[in-house]
């Protein structure tokens, strides 16, 4: 399944400038693992050594926080858009 991963500009330095990356996998976790394998410098910035998400890096699947969809276990399908956004608070 091909999905699109949108990265914040602070991470583009680790992808040769690319802000948008194609990825494959049945779940978000698999898609992230796919990207991590192809961009080793990006890998530790997307998830920890055990492949789990960091508390301060949020993933949005088609604009919805994936923590409401099972986190990295959330199923993904062709054409889905995943956006990576560092956690920033406000008020």
């Amino acid at each position: 399944m091909a999905i699109t991963l949108n990265l914040p500009s602070v991470l583009a330095a680790h992808t040769g400038g690319a802000r948008t990356i194609e990825a494959t996998g049945r779940t978000l976790g698999e898609a992230v693992a796919d990207v991590a394998a192809r961009y080793p410098a990006l890998a530790p910035r997307l998830r920890d050594k055990e492949g789990k998400p960091y508390p301060f890096v949020n993933f949005y699947l088609n604009d919805e926080d994936v923590r409401f969809r099972g986190g990295f276990a959330a199923p993904v399908q062709d054409g889905d858009e995943v956006t990576v956004i560092p956690a920033i608070a406000g008020g």
């Binding site: 949020n58 608070a89 406000g90 008020g91």
Partner: protein
């Protein structure tokens, strides 16, 4: 850039990652390139610090603590923000069963009647230091009001994003300043995510996104003012409202910095946080333990605290646990009662977040969290006229009479039969 540049020119302090410690030059960015952790300003450790007398001789604004704010040189905008009253509240002290209670009254903050003036005063000077001509924010209302007001005074363009369902005063109290106000269908968390992308895409100075490292430091001035206004000493407990959770960790940092500078002595106050029960992810984290926030979908009339995914929540929980404090959640009915109680006991009319803080403090008192010798400060962060909808129907309706003395006499006689409150 401002018309007149202060001498020496205003520059922003460099940044360091709270997660991995990586340092970088000052920039409108709040995220570490190495680990995506949050960036904090770095202060020169050996810089000359003022003593009590020097501070007391400065203008009554938050800039009297400029050595602890993230700039070199003098601020150029929002020079009159801060130094709000600390109000003695003996009736609340009796109610809570403690020695003293004070209200840190940011309902009269200048210019936009909320605590957010403090953080925006810092953010807008960061914008000046970086030469940005457009600022903005993602907001639940108070920050929108503050960014719009401060931008108007500084002559900057402002793009402000809020959830589509906010109180009328928060909407009009933003548009009136000429800001470009955009209402986003969704919750604050949706707006916040959008603004992270907007800041990344347009390069604007979004106060609580890419200017966040500087913006957040403005919160510390609440702690400095409390210490100075108590006669250079610390209270034993402080209760504050929590949305993103930043205020709690900045209170701790502020009190800690004044202890370190030997401007005050003793122990850090115990820090307590309050949220509305319909959106209480930080309270739940404190109760549950651990470091991972579980996001919630907000369901409360307290829109100014309705952040279901608080990025500083883990830091806030740590600040509460490590100082010996705790957290409390209150229902919407309790927060409305909290607004009335605060108004009747202290003469301070607060918005819904102030109701949460007051009702939260009452709940903590009833749960035995305070001792009789405690001296407690409540951080009341926004004016009640911003959320009158919340108390409509909860306050007594005013009778309408003809302009005749007899009708007043009747009312006075009726009142004699009312049970006293």
């Amino acid at each position: 850039m401002p018309a007149t540049i202060a001498s020496p020119p205003l520059t922003a302090r460099p940044l360091r990652c709270r997660g991995c410690g990586t340092e970088r030059a000052a920039a409108p960015t709040a995220i570490c390139e190495e680990c995506l952790g949050p960036l904090d300003p770095v202060y020169e450790p050996g810089r000359p610090l003022p003593d009590r007398e020097i501070i007391a001789g400065r203008a009554p604004s938050l800039w009297r603590y400029k050595e602890w704010l993230p700039f070199d040189g003098d601020a150029v905008w929002s020079l009159d923000t801060g130094f709000t009253p600390l109000v003695d509240a003996p009736a609340l002290a009796r109610r809570f069963g403690v020695a003293r209670v004070w209200v840190k009254n940011d309902t009269v903050s200048h210019p936009s009647l909320s605590f957010k003036d403090r953080v925006v005063a810092a953010a807008i000077n960061a914008a000046a230091a970086f030469g940005l001509d457009t600022i903005g924010c993602a907001s639940t209302g108070n920050l929108a009001n503050a960014v719009a007001a401060h931008a108007a005074r500084a002559g900057l363009k402002a793009w402000i994003f809020i959830p589509d369902e906010l109180e009328a005063a928060k909407v009009i109290g933003t548009s009136v300043y000429g800001a470009r106000l955009v209402r986003v269908r969704g919750t604050y968390d949706d707006v916040n995510r959008l603004c992270a992308q907007v800041a990344d895409h347009f390069g604007w100075g979004i106060a609580n996104v890419n200017l966040r490292s500087y913006y957040g430091e403005g919160s510390k001035t609440v702690a400095y003012e409390i210490a100075e206004q108590l006669g250079w000493r610390l209270p034993t407990a402080v209760v504050a409202p929590m949305a993103g959770g930043s205020l709690l960790s900045k209170l701790r940092k502020g009190f800690g910095e004044f202890l370190e500078a030997r401007l005050v002595s003793g122990d850090l106050p115990r820090l307590y946080g309050a949220q509305a029960a319909g959106c209480a992810p930080i309270v739940h984290l404190v109760e549950r333990g651990g470091d991972a926030i579980e996001p919630e979908v907000p369901k409360t009339i307290c829109r100014s605290l309705a952040i279901g995914n608080p990025a500083d929540g883990a830091f806030a929980a740590r600040a509460m646990r490590e100082t010996g404090g705790w957290a409390a959640a209150v229902t919407d009915a309790e927060l409305v009662e909290g607004i009335r109680l605060l108004a009747e006991d202290t003469g301070v009319f607060a918005e819904t977040a102030g109701g949460v803080t007051t009702a939260g403090a009452l709940a903590l008192a009833r749960a035995g969290r305070f001792a009789p010798q405690d001296e407690v400060v409540l951080c009341i962060t926004g004016h009640g006229l911003k959320t009158v909808e919340a108390v409509q129907g909860a306050v007594p309706e005013a009778p309408v009479i003809a302009p005749r003395l007899r009708e007043v006499t009747t009312l006075v006689e009726e009142e004699r039969t009312w049970p006293s409150r």
